[in-house]
Subunit: 207 residues, 2 copies
């Protein structure tokens, strides 16, 4: 009989449609967000709209580390207090933020933009691997730390990068420690992790 | 030592900030959404931004039922095939969509815009209750169906509306049936619902 089962307004429907294209946002959540926006001030809504267009138009990628940046070279790469001889290779922007958050690393980063994953059609050519090799060749890099997630794809990427860097004789290539997480129960740790943590045991340090 | 623990770009941070003001979206989710947008085409991002500003600027509320609408009178209120003598009172836009979805109601709606809730500072004056009374007085309404959620606030609002409409002698005021939901196990139904469903038992209908 009727066609009103969907949205009472085409403008509303358009906005819901656009929101529901975002990852993890279904049509119900999109509707809830859009109705929330309708109740806000026009200024607030325009501020949201503008923040994403301005960002999309103006955000750059650092030409050294490929992290997101407002300038050609990001604040980390241009900070002379940081150790430019050590480069930490990570998958994405969030991983840079996670490592920075630990306050344990004072070198520079190299953001690959993903990991090698033939299933998803991501080959080394789609990632910032060649630029990493160039960077090691040109700059005075003494250590590359591989800080990718311990997944099949991460391991594959680690191995690929390791091979690509093997010709640099004075370069140390390291990988972040794997073992049981702080607070984990030994009993419930998976056997691969536990096995590796025994093989890679370290001298006890009482500090 | 450093200030990069947060966001590598102020533009990115602005967008994350704006997104995280949406209900149910924390800063981590906001970052994930914003980084997703950064990977999309500029056209797609601008389409999203535009859909919300255009909606916010142009969407109207139907002057009869107060539902969201693209025109002064919404498609439901202006549909002559619908029964204009029966008005279903609901809390919000989603509830109109939910009732429409059942395909069991062919009358018109009245969207209150909330329910009476002293705790949240929502009094009858904040809701479209006076306009409902005016509508019943002016139009030829024979039945008002109260279709609010069976909560304390919903019940209070039902009772308030019922009293406001009690002077109309030829008006039937009904409330949607409450009882155990289709598919529920009797054993696990709460006692208030089960008690009411026994009190409000109906003749068996084999249809």
């Amino acid at each position: 009989m009727n066609n009103y089962q969907q949205y009472p307004s085409r403008l509303l429907e358009d906005a819901v449609q656009q929101f529901s294209r975002l990852p993890g946002i279904g049509r119900k959540t999109a509707l809830r967000l859009v109705l929330h926006l309708l109740r806000q001030d026009t200024d607030d809504v325009e501020r949201l709209a503008q923040s994403i267009t301005v960002m999309k138009r103006n955000v750059k990628h650092c030409r050294v580390c490929h992290n997101i940046s407002d300038s050609d070279v990001c604040p980390i790469c241009s900070d002379s207090r940081r150790d430019s001889h050590t480069v930490c290779v990570v998958e994405n922007v969030q991983d840079v933020m996670a490592v920075e958050h630990t306050q344990q690393f004072h070198g520079l980063y190299h953001v690959l933009g993903g990991v090698i994953s033939p299933m998803d059609g991501i080959s080394p050519g789609n990632l910032e691997i060649q630029s990493l090799v160039d960077r090691v060749a040109q700059d005075d890099v003494s250590e590359v730390i591989l800080a990718l997630s311990p997944t099949m794809e991460g391991d594959t990427t680690n191995f690929y990068i390791y091979r690509r860097l093997s010709s640099f004789t004075n370069l140390r290539v390291t990988v972040i420690a794997r073992g049981i997480s702080v607070g984990d129960e030994l009993e419930y740790t998976d056997e691969v992790t536990l096995g590796r943590s025994i093989l890679n045991r370290m001298p006890f340090d009482s500090k």
